[in-house]
Amino acid sequence: MQPRPPRPLARLNPTPMKSLRFLLPCLLLALAGCVTAPDPRESAALAVLKSDAGLREKALACQQLADFAGPAAVPALASLLAHEQLGDYARSGLESMSDPAAGAALLGALETLQGRQLAGVINSLGVRREQAAVPALRRIVAKPGHSGAAEAVGALGLIADPAAAQVLGEILRTGDQALRETAAHASLIAAERLTAAGQSAEAAKLLEASLQAVPAGPAAEAARRQLALRRAS
């Protein structure tokens, strides 16, 4: 099989801007990502999603959008998040997109989804490190028996900003016993990321809290080792 031909890059619309009255709305539209000429690949994939094509074709369209789609694809992908078979495919399109609209769509879906679809969206918010999701994740964690609680704790570990670390610390200190082990594992990742961001003190606090919160086992061992390495360095 030969490599695919290079994919054409999206082009900016060269329409001249002659007056401030014209310029302002254009700038606003540009901010919204709307003056970029549609990438023909994106248009084609979106057309498949809007058509009565079969599951395989729509799944492939979502995967293609994961490679190159911009914010124009967000509504179509978000509308599929609850779909039993296509939900994960659609989420892949949103997870990889750096545009904030993708994160907003995932965050907005938290209230509407359940079960696996909800778990997937929570995880994608973590992978994207959506700091805006921390309050919503905190609410999920705080609800006793919430089906997405473990995933939310994991996502907080991936987000790993000071706000997420604070929630993890709360779970470790006062949270549901069943979630503390999950929080200890999540805190290990959070501590690594906080350290990489220059927030070593917060990282050490989380690791200390983990040691206090969980019995001997892999999470506690790993926290102890991380702390020892910090002291040694």
Binding site: P3, P6, Q63, F68, Q117, N123, P218, A219, A222
Partner: protein, 424 residues
């Protein structure tokens, strides 16, 4: 009772606090190694290749294999019978639920030989559960999974050995040593044999799904996207499909050969910085100017390779070259390079020394030949090269940040969303 993933994660604290239990069945076996000093091993997803690796574990006197988890009843039964025959007892347990293996406190290490889609996630879950891991290759589907896998092993202090056994096969070791010790002069080019690059998005026609006790299709898919059941997938014919086979099939052999080139080029601590596809050949270049050529090889002697066998590699210096392949033989530019003795002939597919290396490191807590960091970079090279091939243009990669430079589209291809609820 079946353990769900959620219950396993929640109850792991309790499990780790449980008293150590050594089954009475392990007492008195073999005689040479006291049961308390044996490494207790479980298996996850052992198909044909996994069972070859299992043979190497079963032949070790200081190993006790105690449980197999597989989503296919026929496969777990084959393994159970094989283990019981080897030990002349009936003690090997079987389950369709890998968390039952991971939840057993008496299991020290796991052998993972599922399809590629599961390798990284299962390995990471095993590390979280405190197990050392021997995982078949390719160990990752993407660049991100390569990173996550190594990070998890380091985070939990686990011994990890990728099933890239050629690092412990005599002729490959000998060839790499020749390159690394200057016998070939300054190394300027290394060559890795790869299979045809391919990437299919087809689905096979839907078939009636078997009963879950016989084949757990949902669990077989695991982190891979949903598609309808077809028996070909579960019978090993899942390769070549984008959803199940990462890196456009380049890591299939590249996990071995690219990894060996990293070794031969003394480049285990880095990766090439540029990659450019030319048909089925990918030319990469390290920051120090050394070239890595990934080019066709195959089961029928494809490509211009001098050493016979599959998975060939070639190391070229300014004073000579050497090739090694799965026949166990080497080819050299000058017979004088063979002075001091040619390597013993050992099949490139033989994992026995690699398994022993893993077991020794479990005891010493040392780093085996194909450890997590080596595997991370070797696999990243394969995935990055495949992304360049997919894009059909030159790509530039930063070894430090492990990201493409100024290339949003290529960076998006470094990761895939996993099917819920699976994550690392």
């Amino acid at each position: 009772m079946k353990l769900s993933r959620r219950r396993f994660l929640r109850q792991s604290a309790v499990a780790f606090g449980a008293p150590l239990f050594i089954p009475g069945s392990v007492l008195g076996l073999n005689g040479a190694v006291a049961p308390s000093n044996r490494i207790t091993v479980g298996g996850i997803g052992l198909g044909p290749r996994g069972r070859e690796v299992l043979k190497s574990f079963l032949s070790q006197r200081d190993v006790q294999f105690v449980m197999i988890a597989d989503v296919q009843e026929t496969r777990r039964e084959v393994v159970r019978v094989m283990v019981n025959r080897a030990y002349e007892n009936q003690d090997c347990a079987k389950t369709g639920e890998m968390f039952e293996v991971l939840g057993r406190k008496d299991i020290d290490a796991v052998v993972i030989a599922t399809g590629d889609r599961w390798h990284a996630v299962a390995s990471i879950l095993a590390a979280r559960a405190g197990k050392d891991v021997y995982c078949e290759k390719p160990c990752s589907m993407t660049v991100r999974e390569s990173q996550e896998l190594a990070d998890a092993m380091n985070r939990y202090g686990r011994v990890f050995q990728a099933g890239t056994q050629r690092r412990n096969v005599d002729n490959f070791k000998w060839a790499a040593n020749l390159a690394r010790t200057g016998r070939l002069g300054r190394i300027h080019t290394v060559h890795a044999g790869i299979l045809a690059l391919e990437e299919s998005h087809q689905w096979l026609p839907a078939e009636t799904q078997p009963a879950r006790e016989l084949v757990d299709w949902d669990r077989w898919l695991g982190p891979a996207p949903w598609r309808p059941f077809h028996k070909d997938y579960i019978n090993g014919r899942w390769r070549g499909y984008f959803d199940f086979h990462g890196g456009a099939a380049l890591p299939e052999w590249g996990a071995h050969t690219v990894d060996l080139c990293q070794w031969g080029a003394s480049a285990d601590a880095t990766v090439p910085v540029s990659y450019e596809a030319e048909g089925q050949t990918i030319h990469a270049r390290y920051a120090n100017g050394v070239k890595l050529v990934m080019r066709r090889a195959g089961f029928k002697g494809e490509g211009d390779w001098k050493a016979p066998g599959t998975c060939p590699v070639r190391f070229e210096g300014d004073e000579g070259w050497v090739e090694a392949a799965d026949s166990g033989k080497v080819a050299v530019s000058n017979p004088r390079l063979l002075e001091g003795g040619a390597p013993a002939t050992m099949a490139g597919t033989d994992p026995s020394k690699h398994v022993r290396d893993f077991l020794d490191c479990i005891r010493t807590r040392g780093q085996p030949a194909a450890n997590a960091d080596v595997t991370r970079r070797g696999h990243i090279v394969s995935h990055v090269a495949a992304i360049g091939w997919r894009l059909g243009r030159k790509v530039t990669f930063d070894p430090q940040s492990e990201t493409f430079l100024n290339d949003v589209e290529a960076n998006r291809m470094c990761s895939r969303a996993r099917r819920a609820p699976w994550h690392a």
